[in-house]
Amino acid sequence: MRDVAIIGAGMIPFGRRDEDTLMDMLSYASLKALDDAGLGDKSVDAVYVANMGGGMLQHQSAIASSLVDRLSLLPAAAETIENGPASGASAVKNGLLAIASGYYDTILVVGGEKMREVTGWRATDFVATMTHPQAEYPYGITLPGMAGMFTRLYMEKYGVTREHLLAISLKNQEMGTLNPYAHVEMALDRGGIYDSPHAIVNNPVSADPLHLYDLCPVSDGAAALVLCTVEIAKKTGKPYVVIAGFGQATDTHTLAEREDPTDLKAVTLAAQQAFAMAKLKPSDVSVAELHDAFTILEIAESEHVGFFKKGEGGKAAVAGKTRLGGQIPINVSGGLKARGHPVGGTGVAQIVDIVWQLRHELPENRQVKNAEVGLTVNFGGFGNNVLCFILRRVQP
């Protein structure tokens, strides 16, 4: 398997982008990545588009074919990859393997979603289409509902508290205020959402024990990467990033059929595969982007990938170990919680943020010093399809 590098990364600000179509967003993010890769007036061999709702929300299909036309990348090969909220990482995976195979040399991977053009309850229903069509969906279950049930069990088994969850909300929302691409631009204060009399008004229960500020927002947005061979990356003469490790695993569709629903087997397996391929261990990681669609997930994933023992992730967050400058900075971008979660875009955006970290090009208040190795977890369904990447900086 030949090594694969990333030489271009681009993102557009996440949030509510009423003025843009889905195609606009995918196209703008792609151009930024192509420009960043020095391919602004060139083409690529193939394009992967990560998107979940083109058909259901925009009534549009075959958007990868549409995008290569819009960007004049013809006759590049193109397809759309869908894997729920892990569509982004799945698209990167297919780009990775396609170059590793030797068939293609340069690939554009772009992920995006336009979710804000439908009402909140339509968006909630859209996301719920990934639950089991007979055993779950008819009951009105939502992804926040799944997360609520999971949180209750995790609290019971591992002693996670609302105080732990709060540490994630505060950290990620604070980091979001520093990130020009983030959806959420407002810092939270502890009193406002937790221990003042107004807290229950500002931060009502959403799917108990989770409150409003335990959930990521519903966002429009897109992000893109240019993948290529190491030979091509070397020619740029600039620091680049290689995909050192990759893993992916699936778990039962229904939460009910998991022996121990607090055990996110797919996260553990995906991370183990990625570390084995990279020949690295959790303590080698400088910076991580974890899939915090719900605050509990940042805690649970930080344990399942091996940064902390089970039951220690929440305490570590409270102790500041996951902040910038801490033992392992997690979601310095603000994470899904603050950057936002345009479902098809998230997995690509996580890697874009890690690429920026590993190229040491972020402002000081967001840059992890001397970052050498980054890790991402993109969590599909409710943990039934999870991808993990390990990225490494290369100084040519």
Binding site: G148, S206, D208, T254, A256, E257, P261
Partner: protein, 118 residues
């Protein structure tokens, strides 16, 4: 009129593993022959939540949902007849019923509902 619980679980004929919903092969031994079984007896509440942001198609303020395990080990999701999660506790007994759980295209869709037992 009380309706019978209309879900079917599947017991692997080779290794006994109980599945719900249906799988074409056994999760444990990949066997493809199953005995159809019905969930039996009351159920134990494994976890639960109250959902306040409901998806399109629900015309109510919130919904209490949980996952239970029946006496014969069938596990399933369902709605819970409770006004608040304060009345609920992991491990408590609940009584299963088969009732309308949502309306689709103007028709009632039936499913599992659970009533907390004292």
């Amino acid at each position: 009129m009380k309706k019978e619980i209309a879900i079917t679980a599947y017991k692997c004929k080779k290794c006994g593993k109980i599945h719900y919903p249906f799988h074409d092969r056994c999760l444990d031994c990949k066997g493809r022959e199953f005995e159809k079984i019905k969930p039996e007896g009351n159920a134990k509440l494994l976890t639960f939540t109250t959902i306040f942001n409901l998806p399109w198609g629900f015309d109510q303020r919130y919904l209490v949902i949980g996952v239970v395990e029946f006496e014969n080990k069938v596990k399933a999701m369902g709605q819970i007849k409770a006004d608040s999660v304060d009345q609920l506790k992991i491990g408590m007994k609940v009584k299963p019923t088969w009732e309308p759980v949502r309306v689709q295209y103007g028709e009632d869709v039936y499913g599992l509902k659970f009533e907390p037992m004292k």
